[in-house]
């Protein structure tokens, strides 16, 4: 993996001429987690999809640049709320999807190591339907890591999980994605408060930076400062109007 770059998104987006978000600048610090928090429809997923080079249905006027000047799109790994596991493929095959799609040799040793780190070594030959929601999302995380990209884009990856599994997944992701530039798009103030090295609240009015709690991430679920931050974020979301 190449060193993780910082990413800067500057610009505005519109859908059929109607503005989706006003001109904004979002900076992702190198090798840090940036949490983009907002309600539905403010365009936070659009920002993530623009960085990934995916269809957004919106017209974007602006630039997306990396601090090292190299192209961004081919250096991102992507994980969404839906685990996107292929139902006909086994856990191991799903993890190796990227290599198979590019016609590359699958790195077996790396795959086994990642399976162990997401605690699914005994499940390599199972199909997704045989796994629980949390296990499936762990496979998706392992598949994201198999890609070994310096930039990781997470589009509400934990929001379909129950509270306990979600907290476990947040900690596992924080541990395994250390050293990469991560953008986490979420609508959950608690998640942003736990995980963000920097936190940006996105509303119809644009981006508002919020100082993260001082504790090291992943922060404890009952850390007082983290809970206060969560409350403050919640208030901002509600006052943001959307």
């Amino acid at each position: 993996m190449t060193p993780a770059p910082a990413i800067t998104v500057t610009g505005s987006a519109s859908i059929d001429g109607a503005p989706l978000f006003a001109p904004l600048t979002l900076s992702l610090k190198a090798a840090r987690w940036t949490c983009l928090l907002g309600g539905s429809g403010v365009g936070k997923s659009t920002v993530l999809r623009l960085i990934a080079g995916l269809e957004t249905g919106a017209e974007f006027h602006g630039t997306i640049t990396a601090s090292d000047g190299a192209p961004v799109m081919e250096r991102v790994a992507y994980m969404s709320q839906d685990d996107l596991l292929l139902p006909w493929a086994t856990v191991a095959q799903n993890m190796a999807l990227g290599a198979r799609l590019r016609g590359e040799q699958v790195d077996r040793a790396r795959l086994d190591d990642l399976l162990r780190r997401v605690r699914l070594s005994d499940h390599a030959a199972k199909r997704p339907a045989e796994l629980s929601g949390g296990q499936r999302q762990r496979v998706a995380l392992a598949r994201t890591l198999m890609e070994d990209k310096p930039v990781v884009l997470l589009d509400e990856p934990f929001s379909a999980l129950d509270a306990r599994t979600r907290a476990d997944m947040q900690e596992l992701a924080a541990e395994l994605l250390a050293g990469r530039t991560v953008l986490l798009v979420t609508h959950d103030p608690a998640e942003a408060a736990r995980l963000g090295h920097s936190i940006q609240v996105m509303t119809g009015g644009g981006l508002t930076p919020v100082a993260p709690p001082t504790a090291r991430m992943p922060r404890a679920v009952d850390d007082t400062e983290t809970l206060e931050c969560q409350g403050a974020l919640m208030r901002m979301l509600r006052e943001g109007g959307r």
């Binding site: 990934a52 995916l54 269809e55 081919e74 996107l84 999807l97 799609l101």
Partner: protein, 244 residues
């Protein structure tokens, strides 16, 4: 057992109604033969019927194989090329507006009295359902999979083989199952128009000679053949359809 019981009961019930209609109305046997008579006729002519059934079955199987290969190839071509879609799709729909029956005489003229005109009829009838079903599946790949593949820098070809085709197999399975029921109809139409063998020919021949009991025996045999073919296809495509 429990699965077959309702079907068996319904069949017995239908046969009983049929027999009682014949018994009560006293219709002549060339208008409506009863099930007992049809069964007797079937048994007496079992070798004749078997011979013609074999011919029809062969036409149907070759037709199914050719139609499936053509349909799958067309769907893949349409799914991977925008130009093919724009050019071929309207034409494909237009050909479906033509009555295939009307083509049967010309096919006989072109391909002769033998096997191939019937195979061609069967192919014509099943080609569209298979193409349409598989193509539809190929175009409905969940968007999330395509997004994921894009972030993995997959080529369109790799996406087609590793994601779109496997995701469309259940739809292909429904197309093939439908085709298994349609194919015998195509073959029989071909036999009606011009043939010297096959169940369609036998039905026409029996009808012409007022051997209605033999006509019924041949028709019911065709029905059983279609049902067996459908069941076999169901079984063969179970994995493809994602059933356990």
């Amino acid at each position: 057992m429990t699965r077959w019981f309702p079907a068996l009961a319904a069949t017995v019930f239908a046969l009983a109604i049929w027999q009682s209609v014949v018994g009560l109305t006293d219709l002549p046997r060339f208008i409506l033969p009863g099930p007992v008579l049809v069964a007797e006729t079937w048994w007496q002519n079992r070798w004749l019927i078997a011979e013609h059934t074999a011919v029809t079955a062969l036409e149907v199987l070759i037709g199914l194989a050719c139609g499936a290969v053509l349909g799958v190839a067309t769907a893949l071509q349409l799914a991977s090329s925008r130009i093919a879609r724009v050019l071929v799709q309207p034409m494909l729909v237009f050909t479906q507006a033509l009555p295939v029956f009307a083509l049967a005489p010309i096919l006989t003229l072109w391909l002769g009295y033998g096997l191939w005109s019937k195979v061609a009829m069967a192919v014509l009838i099943i080609y569209f359902p298979i193409t349409a079903a598989f193509f539809d599946g190929l175009m409905r790949t969940p968007v999330g999979y395509l997004d994921l593949a894009r972030t993995m820098q997959a080529s369109p070809r790799a996406v087609l083989w590793h994601i779109r085709v496997p995701a469309a197999l259940p739809q292909l399975a429904s197309g093939l199952r439908l085709a298994a029921v349609y194919a015998p109809i195509g073959a029989v139409i071909g036999e009606w128009v011009g043939a010297s063998k096959g169940l369609g020919y036998l039905m026409l021949l029996a009808n012409g000679r007022a051997k209605t009991d033999l006509m019924f025996a041949a028709m019911l045999t065709l029905g059983v053949l279609s049902v067996l073919l459908h069941l076999a296809m169901r079984r063969a495509t179970r994995r493809m359809a994602g059933e356990r």
